[in-house]
Point group: C2
Chain length 168, copies 2
Amino acid sequence: MLEYIYRRRSIRKFHADRPVEPEKVTELLRAAMAAPSANNRQGWRFIVVDDRETLDKLAEHYPNADMLFTATLCIVPVADMETFYYQQDLAAATQNLLLAAPELGLGTCWCGMKPERQEWAHEFFEVPEGWWVFALIAVGYPAEEKPANTWYKEENVFRGRWGARREA
Amino acid sequence: MLEYIYRRRSIRKFHADRPVEPEKVTELLRAAMAAPSANNRQGWRFIVVDDRETLDKLAEHYPNADMLFTATLCIVPVADMETFYYQQDLAAATQNLLLAAPELGLGTCWCGMKPERQEWAHEFFEVPEGWWVFALIAVGYPAEEKPANTWYKEENVFRGRWGARREA
């Protein structure tokens, strides 16, 4: 029933010869910006990277971003650091984007951005002070298949207070 | 096309006499735990609150959580603070839950948890050290309607680097 949620999986191999059509990029961004944000601030910007040279540079620089060698698109959400909630707002937008992708035939992988890489990323993307480079989202036509999935565990669920079991 | 994303709206009025069926609560939690998490740590727990007295207490205590007076369910995600990414992981799980709700006929509202309210929340829910009470998610059968929507703005999108315009 909730297939549109379960089919989102981290895809790490893409068809490097299949660019993502500009209309699909727009659809991904429309989905991202449908997310809720604290006080509806919409404190988000998105840098679209779609040239091979830049994608390769990012893949070389980030040790866990190998999938960018085959991804044909990288979307880089950037957060306005003014509210406490900017990490949450950007994560919600990112998750929307990830869930939209399979409907468009696309796969994605969310690469977190560690604090020690901010300086490099700021310089690379020319991001101003007060903004946080949130993540690298690899996108492309998937060259691997993964089944729909949830990691649901009943033991992660309590009722009323921490430690109290719920009868499912 | 991406209706399952656009129809998520913040619902603040619910039918107070319509409890959420336990099977639907499980579906919401299955969706939440289908989210990606850094290194697949799954550092999340979920406290299910479904009794009127506790819902009212939360509504009274949190100034922006009035909708809990009519919501018949509140899901409280709690985060393992061990990684830098816990805010992001929990936000992704929360967003999944919000997107699952309309498919089940339910509405939701995501209430952020400010740092100064942690102590109260820790005591109230008996949460151990090292865990962060992430948010209050009000859930119920909606008593208000809102149209599907995105806040997409082309000016939030750059190409290649900050400030460079994209031709959509």
